[in-house]
């Protein structure tokens, strides 16, 4: 059957199992949008293309399925780029379809023409410009294979308007020819044997679990390994959910805002087992003093990450789940009571300093809000956080037990991510309870997507942690720039009136006693609810390892009984 290029785009998406796409139409995109009406795919009209990209990303992270977003040529495509880069840095499997001006005028600075494949080259796993209708099906098929293979990531397909309009015989290519597509090999037996030997000899091992645990479906395999070897598990920000935080071996988040006992355990370890993580500067601190006593095993699907930041004794380049399932039977079952007890001692010290166990002296503190949100939701929500202080407090105080229940922009640190990503997450998992946790700054970057929430009738709960500042930048100014608050005090709209304009019920909370009732009220309400928590303006995230400092050199929260910074 003869089909237009535009029809072929939708034929392929349907064949790939796509049921939802996020996008925004435009001139060069008209043929694709026209054809859309004849296909069983739900299109979500966004308010800004950045939102579409984050939605596709959130959809992918919540479900593991490839997320899809589309935009027109020129400004439509450039607006996607922040979202594409966000997906790239966090290896989120996504496919972006953009329209391009007709091939006849390509390269002439035609209306709404921009070099999309050039612009997105460094922020995609792969991209292609299609000018010939006969190549559309193959290119889209390849895009899905590439996005989902190995270390996942965004792939962009840019299709000229004339290719969308031209007709050809449609045949869906089941098999693809991608001789250069890198596929990690199965775990190498010799490396596994060396790894097992190091594990058996270790007295003070620590597992560093990253996003790879979740992406490879290795949560059960990780748990089996950790329990058999009695090895404590520290998590990266994106690894949260990969190991239950209620588990006695869980050390919570590591790194710049990791708990003191967690970083202490890493610095004192004699063996680090890095599972699906990449030794980001935010988790290592000063690399020269990082875990000096530890041998290092790195199980990683992407060989370009092995030895990039930290010298590795035993690299295992492989899918993590496959490696763990092979490794666990090779290691000795062993209790490491002394080591676990030593860490628990440090854990008690951390607990005694924890603000959660102290009174806010009449002020509403963000850590208390996140702690109460965790309690009131039974820890079972999918939380989509934005970027900044609230993101770190969420990571510290909302205790996730299940994979894919924390969705956040880790690598790129994209403010404005939370609301649109939550829309994507909710559409991927309609039965999940989805909470946005955002600061007043980041929320304002993409708050126009409140319209999308209503338009799609989505039941999303929104918690704005409003401290009237760009809080994390303010914190750095407080610590490192003599409290010179350049451009960090932030004016916000009246969030109650803003929500009202979108006909979203909203409640303002400024006292601790009102937190849980507000959360409960939001949960009982069908449909979206916005909660604004007016929190202490100048609180800081503790502990903090200043950028580039030794991981054990932490700024601690002023001690119990002392006044909280204000």
């Amino acid at each position: 059957v003869q089909r237009t290029g535009a029809q072929i785009v939708w034929e392929c998406l349907v064949k790939e199992g796509v049921t939802t796409v996020f996008g925004y139409p435009g001139g060069a995109m008209l043929p694709i949008y026209d054809a859309m009406l004849d296909y069983p795919v739900r299109h979500v009209l966004v308010r800004h293309e950045q939102g579409a990209a984050h939605m596709a990303d959130g959809y992918a992270r919540a479900s593991g399925r490839v997320g899809v977003a589309m935009a027109t040529s020129g400004p439509g495509a450039t607006n996607l780029t922040t979202g594409i880069a966000t997906a790239m840095l966090d290896s989120s499997p996504t496919v972006f379809v953009t329209a391009q001006v007709s091939s006849k005028v390509l390269g002439s600075d035609a209306f709404q023409e921009v070099d999309v494949t050039g612009i997105t080259l460094p922020i995609t796993k792969h991209n292609s410009l299609v000018t010939d209708v006969r190549h559309i099906a193959r290119t889209i098929r390849e895009a899905f294979v590439i996005a989902g293979a190995g270390r996942q990531g965004p792939v962009l397909v840019d299709i000229t308007k004339d290719a969308q309009q031209a007709k050809t015989e449609f045949e869906y290519p089941e098999a693809v020819h991608l001789p250069g597509l890198y596929q990690a090999p199965p775990p190498d037996g010799e490396s596994l044997a060396r790894a097992a030997e190091l594990v058996d000899k270790a007295e003070r091992p620590v597992i560093l679990a990253g996003a790879g645990v979740i992406r490879s479906g290795a949560t059960a395999a990780l748990r089996a390994f950790a329990e058999k070897t009695s090895t404590p598990v520290a998590l990266t920000l994106l690894g949260i959910g990969g190991f239950p935080q209620s588990h006695p071996l869980c050390l919570g988040m590591m790194g710049m805002h990791g708990e003191a006992f967690t970083n202490q355990a890493i610095q004192r370890a004699d063996l680090l087992l890095a599972f699906g993580m990449r030794f980001d500067d935010r988790v290592t601190g000063n690399i020269k003093t990082y875990a000096l006593h530890a041998r290092k095993i790195h199980v990683e699907i992407d060989p370009s990450e092995v030895g990039k930041n930290v010298k590795i004794d035993v690299p295992v380049v492989s899918d993590l789940r496959a490696a763990l399932e092979a490794l666990t039977p090779m290691v000795e079952a062993r209790q490491r009571d002394a080591w676990v007890a030593e860490i628990d001692g440090w854990r008690q010290d951390t607990r005694s300093r924890d603000i959660v166990h102290r009174d806010g002296n009449g002020r509403l503190l963000a850590p208390h809000v996140l702690h109460d949100l965790w309690k009131a939701t039974g820890g079972g929500a999918v939380v989509v956080s934005d970027v900044g202080q609230h993101q770190m407090w969420e990571a510290q105080y909302y205790k996730h037990d299940e994979p894919r229940t924390l969705i956040t922009s880790g690598g790129l640190g994209t403010m404005g991510f939370a609301l649109p990503a939550a829309i994507g997450a909710k559409m991927a998992r309609p039965d999940a309870e989805v909470w946005v946790v955002a600061g007043d700054g980041g929320f304002q970057m993409t708050q126009s997507e409140l319209a999308t929430v209503q338009q799609e009738e989505l039941d999303i709960k929104i918690a704005i942690i409003n401290n009237g500042f760009l809080g994390m930048v303010r914190q750095w100014q407080e610590f490192f720039h003599d409290k010179r608050y350049a451009a960090t005090p932030m004016l916000s709209p009246d969030f109650m009136k803003l929500a009202a304009a979108y006909e979203i019920p909203a409640y303002r909370v400024s006292g601790r006693a009102d937190v849980v009732p507000a959360v409960e009220k939001a949960r009982e309400t069908k449909g979206p609810v916005l909660l604004e928590f007016q929190v202490e303006k100048e609180d800081a995230v503790y502990p903090m390892v200043p950028a580039g400092s030794d991981l054990h050199a932490m700024i601690r929260r002023p001690g119990a009984g002392e006044e909280v910074r204000s």
Binding site: F144, H177, G180, S304
Partner: protein, 172 residues
């Protein structure tokens, strides 16, 4: 420290740009990069000489391998190879000096390929050291202009069996 990487890449538009962009954004330092056709019209071949003082060669290799059109990469630095660099050198040369210059160039198996009144163009092919040797000698006479292709390399002996088979992607 210099490493020589040989990459087999799909002969598609934009592949060179992808490789160059990778080196730029990862701050890898390229000494030279050559690209050309191969025995198989589906593939081109790149010979890349990279300074690995800051980033070790295996990391560079792994990053190259991640580019979808790059089919395989071999670090041939410590393997037995035939490697060649070609230079065209325009050097000052009065008519009276031509014969002497020609015999000098001959020692390096080079030749004079163009003659003007006060200069000649010398062509020389060889491994980098040999070309460097001739360049040093000619420098004293006054090099007006020079262009070098950069290194191309091929493993010695039979490699028919050792080349990794192109792997087909799974139906995801």
């Amino acid at each position: 420290v210099k490493h020589t990487l040989v990459a087999r890449v799909l002969d598609q538009p934009g592949v060179l740009n992808r490789v160059a962009s990778l080196f730029r954004r990862r701050a890898f330092n390229i000494e030279s990069l050559t690209v050309g056709h191969t025995e198989d019209p589906e593939f081109s071949r790149m010979t890349i000489v990279v300074d690995t003082a800051r980033v070790p060669a295996p990391i560079v290799e792994a990053n190259l391998r991640k580019l979808v059109p790059v089919v395989d990469v071999t670090d041939v630095t410590h393997m037995a190879t035939v490697d060649r660099d070609l230079a065209l050198i325009r050097v000052r040369c009065a008519p009276a000096e031509r014969a002497e210059l020609a015999s000098l160039v001959e020692i390096f198996r080079g030749r004079i390929v163009d003659v003007a009144v006060e200069s000649v163009i010398v062509e020389v092919t060889g491994d980098e050291e040999k070309v460097n040797g001739l360049v040093e000698l000619l420098r004293a006479r006054g090099i007006v202009e020079m262009v070098r292709t950069g290194k191309v390399a091929m493993l010695r002996g039979s490699v028919v069996e050792t080349r990794p088979a192109a792997t087909a992607a799974p139906a995801a």
